[in-house]
């Protein structure tokens, strides 16, 4: 009961905190200018625009795309492997020499930027055999192997139209847009939640209420936990409201375009993908701030971490344990990454729970070691 009341108290605080309103404005602007700009929703595709990507079907196309994939591996000297989280496997010098030899035989004297099907001198099966053998050599589950291999190209207008009709009819379209929304909201969560969370525990110190709270008989886990959950609910309420807005738009459009929508998809993806990012975005700065006793330092650390992550993450496809934000900015191939994303999200829920315990422990240590008068600047 006390725990619940403290949570309510924290929520009340957030909803009359100026920083929280700034946070809402920034998130809404981000949503409006990033997501809404791209979101076609249930409107039919425009013939003048390029929509998404699609798996190539002809062997000729696949040979060209396979050549580019092998060329990319040669240049980056690594191959992506899912185990089940995506990670880069470094290629040995011997393997690199083999790849180089293979692609030279595959399309001699060819520029990768201008390669066409007529430049390819081997058949499709030979290329697949080579990719499979390299995949086995690397222990399987690489992007070259049968499980994760894809030959992707840009979608034509006609293909977009077919895909649109299919998604519109079977209700998949809300899931597609829910993933895209979760992608943008995840970025907002990663970047901006820190401005609230880094002050959450140190607020007591800044308002000189800390000693009074330390000397009360509240359990440390109750106090820290209530602050965490209160802020989590406040932040998630903003994201879920955006999810509600999107759901409402889709429900209206569903009538207009005679489409089927799933009204739970937005909430599902916001909770599954964005919530762990919010959890991590709250508790890590709380911990840093309480250790360093400095909120600004926590903001700088977390903000830089997020920027570094964003600049080093592809729009889709990288879900190893270092990615605390899920980027999935595309319409297709979700099933291929679903398991990796699931493990990533579970990892961040787990790590956040552990960090709550660690923050509580540090808070308890600080609670029992308040410095005396002259050393406290009095």
């Amino acid at each position: 009961m006390i725990f619940l009341n403290l949570i309510v108290s924290e929520i009340k605080y957030q909803f009359r905190n100026t920083t929280f309103f700034v946070f809402i404005i920034v998130v809404v602007l981000f949503y409006s200018y990033q997501y809404c700009e791209e979101a076609n929703r249930l409107k039919p595709p425009d013939p003048n625009l390029v929509y998404s990507t699609i798996e190539a079907t002809s062997k000729e196309e696949k040979l060209v795309l396979g050549y580019k994939e092998l060329y990319g591996s040669l240049k980056s000297k690594n191959v992506i492997k899912y185990a089940p989280i995506a990670k880069k496997v470094k290629l040995t010098d011997k393997q690199l020499q083999h790849i180089e030899k293979f692609i030279v035989n595959m399309a001699p004297n060819t520029n990768v930027l201008t390669i066409e099907p007529k430049d390819i001198k081997i058949d499709y099966e030979s290329m697949i055999d080579y990719m499979n053998s390299l995949d086995s050599e690397l222990g399987g589950n690489t992007v070259l192997g049968p499980k994760y291999r894809q030959f992707i190209r840009a979608m034509t207008y006609e293909e977009s139209l077919i895909e649109y009709e299919s998604q519109k009819d079977d209700g998949k379209i809300t899931a597609v847009y829910a993933r895209m929304l979760a992608d943008y909201l995840g970025i907002s969560a990663g970047l901006f939640v820190v401005f609230l969370s880094s002050f959450s525990l140190l607020r007591d110190k800044y308002w000189r209420t800390q000693e009074l709270i330390f000397s009360s008989n509240v359990k440390s886990i109750v106090y820290v936990g209530a602050k965490f959950i209160g802020l989590f609910i406040s932040v998630m309420s903003v994201f879920l409201t955006i999810g509600l807005i999107e759901t409402t738009i889709f429900l209206f459009q569903a009538n207009m375009y005679n489409a089927t929508v799933n009204f739970l998809d937005f909430f599902k993806y916001i909770i599954a993908w964005v919530a762990p990012t919010v959890m991590f975005g709250i508790i890590l700065p709380m911990l840093i701030a309480i250790i360093a006793e400095n909120s600004i330092f926590a903001i700088v650390v977390k903000f830089c971490m997020t920027l570094i992550l964003l600049f080093n993450t592809e729009l889709t496809g990288q879900y190893d344990f270092t990615r605390f934000i899920i980027r999935f900015n595309g319409n297709n191939f979700y099933q291929q990454f679903a398991s990796a994303i699931k493990y990533n999200r579970l990892f961040y829920v787990g790590i956040s729970l552990m960090l709550i315990l660690l923050t509580t422990f540090i808070w308890e240590v600080k609670r029992n070691k308040v410095m005396g008068g002259i050393l406290h600047g009095n």
Partner: protein, 297 residues
Amino acid sequence: MEIRLNQVGKKYKNIVALNEIDLTIPQGMFGILGPNGAGKTTLMKILMALLPADTGEITINGIPISQRTKIRECVSYLPQEFSFYPYMSVLEAMDYMALLVGIKSVVKRKEIINELLVKVNLIKHKRKKFKTLSGGMKRRLGIAIALLKDPKVLIVDEPTAGLDPDERVRFRTLLSEFAKDRIVVLSTHIVGDIEHTCKNIAIIDQGNIIFCGERQHLMDEALGKVRVVEIKCEELSDIQSKYYVISINEANSGYSVKLITDKKIGEEVKPNMEDAYLVKMLSHTSDARSNFQELLC
């Protein structure tokens, strides 16, 4: 009901904040007097289990200080720099702290809060935001918050700092009322705070307890050491260089100077509490003069 300290010591690197002190604090108002930096706040924080002592033993009503949870159940603390979230009203602040001290029932919380706000004369201001309260109101709110858990021991650190004389008197009276069936430990560097409220006092200086006992004993010890001399204007600097001057008043032909000395000069006067404190401090340390000046200011 008592607090016992046995050989309690605390160091911050090379600074000795408390030098293995022994102290027994009985029921009622107990004043801890000392200049700034004497170790009072450190002592208060140790008593509140907010800071561990390096050496020694402390028990509060028989409970060892190491049992922090139990200590926090029966001891309340009003810190030196009491403040609260400025956006909260008096009522919200009380309710929030009532939650933290573990009062689960809403009805009981309301009942206790109203009762305490009446006691500290803040009931009319219960909707006011903390940031709009005067210094005295804030202190009274602090007391009300400290009394939420109905503590056996109330520790108050420099309670009247920054208050005007009216508020100061009202605050002391309030503390005296609460001390009837409790231990109230009042730490201050202002002699007036304990002069009329604390029967028992301790004087702390540079981490040492230099006096512990009844207030009257301190006054008795100072008897014969406080004198008033009438001097001419040109003699003032000479007197100031030879004696510890407590006060200087203008007189007809020059000045009337109150000073501390063992010499039979001028006229002996009955020392007040502040005089007695200064005599004690002077006898304890040779470099106490700077502290006296601070106190006189």
